[in-house]
């Protein structure tokens, strides 16, 4: 045995160690808000004010990141989730976004809620080059990577959903007389625009009645009476849960049975259909991309079981009939996926790059067959929906998975 052999082995080992060390050094890259031990994520929610029902989204996300941290974090880094209240008022959103970026120094702002609040900070976020990732609004304008490369949406946008309904009507009921009821805000108007675009040249002749209501009205009964009087045989119901339940009930009371399309914002069985009465809801058509936790068909589903286990352990007081809880769980999983994909390169640029390269990502809360996809030119992760018809006590999905990508 010669003396040189252990020496050679030592040198080789040293070379190997230093090589991997320098490689590790080269790989680790951070922007403000990320380090070896933590990733700071900012978030803005309406915990108070008119839209405070959505605050549950922030609470669910906070619970989900607690779960991630309890399970060891993301690539060894803990998530610090800082969520502020903006009461759904744009000036407050700007203040909170600036606080997050300049004072708390977060890496990204994730899933901030509402179209007006997000519009208010979009320019600022893009000037600062801080990702405004997976915003919680269905407006169409978030898919605009050319103009706003630091802003990305998440859910299928309102316009593509109503285009799907319009196509269905053109195909199955070309001579329909349509009545539309919509909420008088950005959300309602976005749906209406998509619907008219989908009907194309026939929109003017097919839509016989159009009525809007304010979110502050206590009841929409009088609107339904007016729409019935128009003699329409198709009803497109663009309302939020409370009003959707009222509309379904009122339709039954008035004995008006048009072909009823209900936007997926209000397709929850627990918070809309059940209060309105199963009998009144038979035959309603809607569409969905998330699993409805109150729908018995998912009782033994793997994704749903995991969701229930998560809530049992980390957010036991959650209202499981609230569609927002499932929504928040899924979008938090989406972020988890992106952060894991970033590895040790936690720069803002790499986060946008990874978020823009989702390939057929399937998550536990999404309907079977619905996948998140993005690219450098497509900043709309979820753009697929499946039509469904209410039958008995559950949604009966039918037809294939449809997609209606619309650019901003």
């Amino acid at each position: 045995m010669s003396v040189t052999r252990p020496l050679a082995a030592f040198v080789a080992a040293l070379a190997l160690v230093s090589a991997s060390w320098s490689a590790a050094l080269a790989q680790k890259k951070y922007d403000t808000g990320a380090s070896d031990t933590e990733i700071k994520i900012g978030n803005i929610m309406p915990y108070s004010g008119a839209a405070s029902a959505y605050g549950v989204i922030g609470k669910t996300e906070e619970a989900y990141f607690r779960k991630i941290n309890a399970e060891g974090g993301i690539n060894g880094r803990k998530i610090t989730f800082i969520s502020y209240d903006d009461a759904y008022t744009p000036p407050k959103t700007v203040e909170q976004a600036r606080k997050l970026v300049e004072s708390d120094e977060v890496l990204i702002i994730f899933n901030s809620l509402g179209t007006p609040p997000n519009s208010a900070i979009q320019k600022y976020m893009n000037q600062k080059k801080v990702p405004q990732l997976f915003v919680a609004t269905g407006a169409t304008k978030w898919n605009d990577p050319k103009e706003y490369p630091w802003t990305m949406g998440w859910q299928p946008n309102y316009q593509s959903e109503s285009i799907i309904y319009a196509k269905y009507i053109l195909k199955n009921k070309p001579n329909a007389k349509i009545a539309v009821l919509y909420q008088n805000d950005d959300y309602g108007k976005d749906y209406l625009k998509g619907f008219k675009d989908g009907l194309g040249a026939k929109a003017a002749s097919m839509i016989v009645a159009e009525d809007s209501y304010e979110v502050t009205e206590p009841t929409i009964d009088s609107h339904i009476v007016r729409l019935k009087a128009s003699g329409a045989d198709v009803f497109f119901n663009i309302t939020t849960p409370k009003f959707a339940a009222q509309a379904i009930k009122k339709n039954a009371e008035l004995d008006w049975h048009p072909l009823h399309f209900l936007n997926n914002v209000s397709s929850s069985i627990g918070s809309v259909i059940k209060p309105a009465g199963f009998e009144a809801a038979q035959g309603i058509i809607s569409s969905q991309y998330l699993k409805d936790p109150t729908d018995p068909q998912w009782k033994t589903d793997k994704g749903m079981i995991a969701w229930n286990e998560f809530l049992d352990k980390y957010y036991p007081d959650a209202n499981r009939a609230d569609a927002s809880v499932m929504y928040a769980y899924t979008v938090a999983q989406g972020l988890e996926h992106v952060l894991r994909a970033c590895g040790d390169n936690l720069t803002r640029e790499n986060i946008m790059k990874q978020a823009a390269s989702l390939r057929d990502l399937e998550l536990g809360g999404l309907l079977p067959g619905i996948k998140a996809n993005t690219s450098a030119t497509d900043f709309a992760p979820l753009s697929q929906l499946q039509l469904m018809r209410f039958k008995g006590e559950t949604w009966d999905r039918f037809g294939e998975i449809l997609s209606g990508d619309v650019g901003g």
Binding site: S48, P90, E95, E102
Partner: protein, 338 residues
């Protein structure tokens, strides 16, 4: 009993404040001014932005203070004037390409006219009835801004994005800092003008109306004119504040100007001390920072915590910051004597 008699027998809603007590002494004013000028040099841009908002809301609170503390009229409709000012500035800047500084006087004039006209029918009302009429205005405003008829100009529900101005003459200053000093200059100008207004003949007329309408008219004060004038001035200043707010926030949308804002301003006035102009900045600080503090204490109960804090303030110092200032003054006097 006629309405006029009712008013006479009622205890005055707003306590009479002598006009000298409406302002700060020279020394204190200079200290506050120095602080306002120097602090931004040492803090982050975010804090500067918050200070800008502080000044803007202080202006709006002061405008309400002139109306309520000066002429004794209540208004829950200030958010409507604020919105009109904000939209006037935003539309002129984005659609007409006008310089931001020029849009402010226009916003002020438009709101003055608006407030003056609104003051005409409001004349017939007083006390809580006037508060309700202005409340109606505040509730209607966000919906009016959403109307399809104006959508080409207002951007409808989507609102309008406003470009933030750079510092002029190549000054080595961030946009935030420039906007802060710009706002500060405008605020000081308006503050001085308001103080002078209240010390003038018109100011005395306002206060006479506040203290006793019938006595004022007996002395030859044109009650109708001065009441509407107070409305106009208040609305005009609120409009300038709204315009500045639109530039600082870089965005206007109907949801930013709901009744919530009007109530916040009203709250700011009460906390700052009704009829005490320097209190406006304290009231403004209250409505900006206390919700943040409440949120820091408990996220789920932030509204309740805010309520408790507000209750404490009203319970302990019912006259707001003015009371604290008076106590401080008395303490200082005692200290000097000893």
């Amino acid at each position: 009993m006629s309405a006029a008699e009712e008013i006479v027998t009622e205890a005055p809603a707003v306590e009479a404040v002598p006009k000298r007590a409406m302002t700060l002494g020279y020394g204190t004013s200079l200290v506050v001014l120095a602080a306002l000028i120097l602090i931004p040099l040492f803090v982050k841009n975010f804090i500067i932005f918050q200070m800008t908002m502080l000044l803007i809301y202080a202006l709006a609170v002061m405008a309400l203070n002139i109306l309520t503390g000066g002429s004794g009229q209540f208004s829950l409709g200030q958010s409507a004037f604020y919105a009109v000012g904000a939209y006037t500035s935003a539309i002129l800047m984005e659609h007409a390409g006008m310089n931001y500084a020029l849009t402010l006087p226009i916003a002020g004039i438009v709101c003055f006219g608006f407030g003056f006209l609104f003051g005409q029918p409001a004349l017939r009302l007083s006390g809580v009835y006037l508060a309700l009429a202005t409340f109606a205005l505040a509730t209607a405003m966000p919906q009016l801004l959403k109307l399809g008829y104006f959508e080409h100009w207002t951007g409808g529900v989507q609102g309008l994005v406003v470009t933030k101005p750079d510092a002029p003459f190549g000054l080595p200053m961030s946009q935030d800092m420039w906007l802060y000093y710009f706002t500060l200059a405008v605020s000081i100008g308006i503050y001085l003008a308001s103080v002078n207004l209240l010390r003038s003949r018109s100011g005395r007329a306002f206060m006479a109306i506040r203290d006793n309408e019938i006595a004022a008219s007996a002395m030859g004060v044109d009650v109708a004119l001065y009441k509407t004038l107070a409305f106009g001035v208040s609305a005009g200043i609120t409009g300038v504040a709204g315009g500045l707010g639109a530039i600082a926030v870089q965005f206007v949308a109907p949801d930013g100007y709901t009744i919530q804002l009007a109530i916040s301003l009203f709250l700011g006035m009460v906390v700052g001390g009704v009829g005490w102009l320097p209190g406006s900045i304290v009231g403004s600080a209250f409505i900006i920072f206390v919700p943040n503090i409440a949120e820091g204490i408990s996220k789920g109960l932030s509204g309740a915590v805010f309520g408790v804090l507000l209750f404490l303030v009203i319970f302990l110092v019912p006259h707001g910051a003015r009371q604290i200032a008076i106590i401080a003054q008395q303490l200082a006097a005692k200290f000097k004597k000893n």
